[in-house]
Symmetry: C2
Subunit: 400 residues, 2 copies
Amino acid sequence: MDLQDYFSDLTRRPGCTALAELFQLTERPDIISFAGGFPAPEMFLPEEAAEVTRQLLVEKPFTVLGYSPTPGFSALREFLAERQSRLGIPAAASELMVTSGSLQGLDILGRVFLNRGDRVIVEAPNYLGALSTFASYDVRIDAVPVDAEGLDTAQLAGLLEQRRRQCSLPKLLYTVPTFQNPSGQTMSHRRRQELLALAGSYGFLIIEDNAYGELRFAGEEVPTLKALDTGESVIYLGTFSKILSPGIRIGWIHAAAEIIERAVLVRQAMDQCSNSFGQLLALEFGRRGLIEKQINKTVRLLGERARLTLDLLAREFPVGTTWTNPEGGFYTWVTLQPEVDTAQLLSHCIEKARVAYVAGVAFYAGKGGNNQMRLCYSQPSLDDIARGIPRLARALTTPL
Amino acid sequence: MDLQDYFSDLTRRPGCTALAELFQLTERPDIISFAGGFPAPEMFLPEEAAEVTRQLLVEKPFTVLGYSPTPGFSALREFLAERQSRLGIPAAASELMVTSGSLQGLDILGRVFLNRGDRVIVEAPNYLGALSTFASYDVRIDAVPVDAEGLDTAQLAGLLEQRRRQCSLPKLLYTVPTFQNPSGQTMSHRRRQELLALAGSYGFLIIEDNAYGELRFAGEEVPTLKALDTGESVIYLGTFSKILSPGIRIGWIHAAAEIIERAVLVRQAMDQCSNSFGQLLALEFGRRGLIEKQINKTVRLLGERARLTLDLLAREFPVGTTWTNPEGGFYTWVTLQPEVDTAQLLSHCIEKARVAYVAGVAFYAGKGGNNQMRLCYSQPSLDDIARGIPRLARALTTPL
């Protein structure tokens, strides 16, 4: 029996492996990693988590150990509905569903909306987990560039006009408008309004992934797309991974109730429900104001780490290099001279300089990113950054 | 904007709703429910869970709060590899992957193996979650009846011969061979060997879902299909949902390492990894022998509840009714007179008798089950069973 004959077409496609390699790097302690997009342990509140957990297991052990309803515990959905108003988006509990992280939210929406061959618009560069998810649904992907004002709505308008002539308009557009993964860029207020107008005119839905939006350390707040949406164009994905704990695997979908109803149905063919402990921990952290406490701590640490990273890039990186200037979130996006191949240089940088990043090509649905890299400054300490960026700069300029 | 225009073909298919209704019933305290297939709170070890959790949060809070690697924590994979030998299936950690429950294991295998239009064999009746999962992959389904010896291998052989003539052989067969959901039946040793021989001859893979296999309260142990497999025909799905806690959402896939590698890749487009707390709780429960302690407690309670349920069926249910005689697990499967419509009677039984079951039709890929019902005796107490079965019997015989 040759198992090769049995695998699906999906497993034969290239790509999808970048994230696997990322997670493996996290287990090597000798590497200074600017790769994985994780919060640092120093951002957590371990004592508060221990105390909340102790109480949960004493007061409601059967709730912790038992099944959750598929859409999530009612109390958490109500809490999330209320909390969305912090982002300017009042909601009803019926418009919220708990997910196992925001990527699962996207996977669920894939089943709710996508037929094979549907057209989807992503950003260039784009969050690579989302590119893998769309690949699972065998859809046709168009990518629109991101610049310092976020998704380029003029280019999007041109693309949409072309697709209209071809009778092949998109069904969904996926965006991380605030502190984007991987570029760190934020969509301007003007662009947000243009994007919403285009969604209305051309009839596509927007999936707004706001994993980083509450982690601003500079600049002015910009409203979420969902807050600006006067109709039902925007489906919002949230997560506790960056503001409480990635290990609890709890995110949420905020969308029209009729979308949530279908999301609940498809979820029952996937993993039925999210874990109870993570839901209850998030709820208790929320009720006690601990999420806001952790956000404040995280924002302070991110601001320091981002400033040091950007200062060192200016001092150490070769002339002709450019990078983005994030006002929040985890990432800066570095563009080297055109002839540099960051994918090829990665193993060299890991072996010789013991510094890791993610090569730019991983973040493009099509071509692009050869001379680019994502640097995540959230996990390394200030010391690691101070040692790591110069080492990375030297490795990049030393011949292989 | 009419959202109806945007939903996928999958959401337009009938079915998939039975599980949703099940979960809703669990939130109504006035109903005696023989519906949901959950362990009872009395089967849990809440004090031990509280103590293990307290230690976890004190000793390794950053592991509890941080991401897990996609295949699961190495220590848990090694523990599972060793624990599989309890079931007669020695394994390497590279052959194990942690999943968010066993249904997610099946969903992952769907992405690893299934192309649209592939042929899959299920049991009749079959676990309804698995029917929903296969529906997501748009495959063609053949169903083979289950009797007192489990899957009818003679009928399977006939079906396979027919499919061979049509050049349309199946890629996968899904089975719950021990204490089957929903029938409670167990595949005999002889049938297991016949099934494995057929898999070898006709070249299909077997997915063995062993959610209930360790919960035997009567009769003789039968080896798992995976233990009897001399080649690589069998992929094993396990779960802690019935022997530790469904709320932790932790199961596992045990398969050839090259299958696990692909499972890890597709998982990164789904939910990336399972929650850390659940993995660590399962590992610590395992190391301290608490899983075995909970299994012993569960088996004792299940045996009492099953015996009372079966006695009351004999005493109270109308003449001409038959039911299965489980030696373990959660379920008995009741067949009423041919003219009874259990789906139609369900709301009557809930409203008038305040007793719930799952109507048989939910468990068939095609037609069947009109006069059947699944009774789950794991959750109601002996008192509830003593009151519930007679009430159900009366409601079934009272005109609507």
